[in-house]
Assembly symmetry: C2
Homo-oligomer: 386 residues x 2
DNA sequence: CTGAAAGCGCTTACAG
DNA sequence: CTGAAAGCGCTTACAG
């Protein structure tokens, strides 16, 4: 039976021993206080430069790495951020929130303790408790679609930033996609393409994304000579494969469609097929999500608005850290633009885009919105000149 | 300027103070040693039961929660697992690996420190170093598609389990989907449906998944009276929208297609359309991934083999913990079957399935494979009797 | 310029 | 049955 060994015994047996500050101090012939000062850059004018240099050299040679557990116990700052999500990991895009959060955290010397609540309040409470026990300096509270939420009181004494959600109490900073802008931009693009009868294929669920995208669509039309016509607006249940789409096409003959998401855009392609229209010429279509999967299926390729998941994750961590450290925007190092390299998976059409594609809001904002990028493919007619 | 406050000062100012063991001890009129014993369940026959009860009551009333940073420093076991992934978060399915890992970790009292390497070896090295400094007891090394990898030497002295990857050196335990089984099962299903000319729409990239699924497909055919015919096998570049598919259909008239993934299955639907065949009757199609997105688009709904991402994440954590604690399979509590509840997002077709759907391999295995479930929809003709 | 000492909040031999 | 003490590996006033 090896079952009687304790974890430290096992570590010992396996030879897991980190070099400690004490060993560095001994090798350098100084006190650990001196080593600590040098290695933490607090030696300016306090420790003889040649000694400092020697200590650094020895620490490096010995492969010394500070034990963060010990440091955290002493300093009560863990540089750990709790990343609480509902079911984010099960949605195909939202991994990018985590990716953006991880990148920003790494750049600023923080790390993420991630935890999933599956929308179970009791589980959430327990999980938050545990992350707190690990000393998290603050929390990211990431939802998988744009909605209003209540932050558990448990977090009242800690900085929190919401991602793709808004604090119902209005007390916490948050970042969301500019849903209104999505509808507006997409519709403007269709107007520029010369479309005169632009339909909206909406979602039939009551979420912020739906109502705001519709509002943006409507605003663009209201501003235009064409105006808004509610006969062109549909709330579509994706499972109801036929629904009202054919009737809308037969009655109104739209020449442009703004779709709540890429999946719904597919319905426009199907109608084009049925009616002998060519997408990108007779019928222009704009989706939302810019899903590579769908791109692999639809032909011509779908012009679609990309949601700024990476950017939201990235911004939210920077905001959170600015709160934790009580510093302003300017105190944090510049964002380094993260770029995704090429990947084998691109060939399998499995990759979702990551990296910063849209300008980030200032960290001074408390209810930030990220604008979304319309990715041009071939499903919208070229913009008419002037 | 508030920038002069240190993090502990800020915490103080915000009133972030956890109840300590010392306070519990004082309130109970005992020593902290006694409190520690009671709260860690080491009081059997060592502390008077009524005192123990009293201490527990007081701890609860005071809302005492042990400071894990302090405990970890002392015990040198952090119950933190490093979750290293390449670009997993950018692929739509693989969040489920993390979800399964998180669920298993939670059930066993561990937590995940997640870090992304973006396939950059230098970044990987640094990130692993940091997670080690936080005292991780072991590492999960998760890749986003099945391949052979080298584990960095940095991890030589710590337990590691690979997810959706195999250790080239053969030294580390790993878990992967049973790719061969996928090809075999899908092809058998098509044979049972009475198909006589079954094509394989493969991928044109050299990954384990491709060659093994093909091998399984071939084995099923070799076993059958029909036999294998390489004219029915295609390596398809998803971006090359036309490719060899139409020629294959014209020349061989397949009545069944096993597709490397759901996106490629779409090509079979398109051919059916072109040739006036009804999918699910004249032409049976099986995909892999069971992507809800694609399901929302293809009609009739696609029968597809689901990859066991959740299961792999779940198993790998249990395996890792059994290594860390040097316990066998039986020492860990039974897996609780995780079930995903209903969700608004299901209406948006955004959810990927999570939870345990396939039997988990025993923890004694070192190169585990999870079998994959074929999810029946409507794209395959009913199995013929007998 | 440098070190001895206290202490962060725990756990655990050791002694009684 | 219980407590005093040492110690995990750091940081940081304090003293010199």
């Amino acid at each position: 039976m090896t079952g009687t060994l304790s974890v430290p015994q096992i570590r010992e047996q396996r030879g897991i021993r980190m070099v400690t500050m004490k060993e560095v101090a001994e090798a350098a012939g100084v006190s650990i206080a001196t080593v600590s000062r040098v290695l933490n850059g607090k030696d300016r004018g306090r420790i003889k430069p040649e000694i400092a240099r020697e200590i650094k050299r020895i620490a490096k040679d010995l492969g010394y790495r500070p034990n963060l557990v010990a440091r955290n116990l002493k300093t009560r700052s863990s540089r750990i951020l709790g990343f609480i999500s509902d079911e984010i990991a099960t949605t195909p895009f939202a991994g990018r929130i985590m990716l953006g959060a991880q990148d920003a955290a790494r750049e600023l010397g923080y790390i993420l303790l991630t935890v999933n609540t599956g929308n179970d309040p009791d589980l959430e409470r327990r999980q938050i408790g545990i992350v707190r026990q690990y000393g998290a300096d603050g929390f990211l509270y990431a939802m998988m679609y744009h909605r209003k939420v209540d932050i558990p009181e448990q977090l009242d004494d800690l900085p929190v930033v919401l991602v793709d959600a808004e604090d119902r109490a209005g007390a916490r900073p948050s970042i969301c996609p500019d849903e209104y802008g999505i509808g507006y931009t997409a519709t403007r693009r269709l107007l520029d393409a010369g479309c005169r009868r632009i339909a909206y294929f909406g979602a039939d669920v009551p979420i912020v994304a739906q109502s705001e995208r519709l509002a943006g669509y409507r605003a663009a039309l209201d501003e235009s000579p064409i105006g808004y016509d509610d006969r062109l607006v549909l709330a579509i249940d994706e499972h109801d494969v036929y629904g009202d789409v054919p009737r809308l096409f037969d009655e109104c003959r739209p020449d442009g469609v703004f779709c709540f998401n890429d999946v719904r855009a597919h319905l426009a392609y199907r109608e084009a097929d049925r009616l002998g229209l060519t997408v990108g010429r007779d019928l222009s279509v704009v989706g939302v999500d810019n899903q590579p999967f769908i791109a692999g299926i639809l032909s011509p390729a779908l012009t679609s608005v990309e949601l700024p998941h990476y950017e939201m994750g990235y911004w939210s961590v920077r905001k959170l850290i600015s709160l934790i450290e009580r510093t302003g925007d300017s105190a944090l190092p510049e964002p380094s633009i993260a770029e995704g390299g090429p990947s084998l998976l691109a060939d399998l059409n499995l990759m979702l885009p990551a990296g910063i594609h849209a300008p980030l809001p200032s960290l001074t904002q408390d209810r930030a919105q990220v604008s979304c990028v319309l990715v041009e493919k071939d499903s919208v007619a070229p913009a008419s000149q002037g």
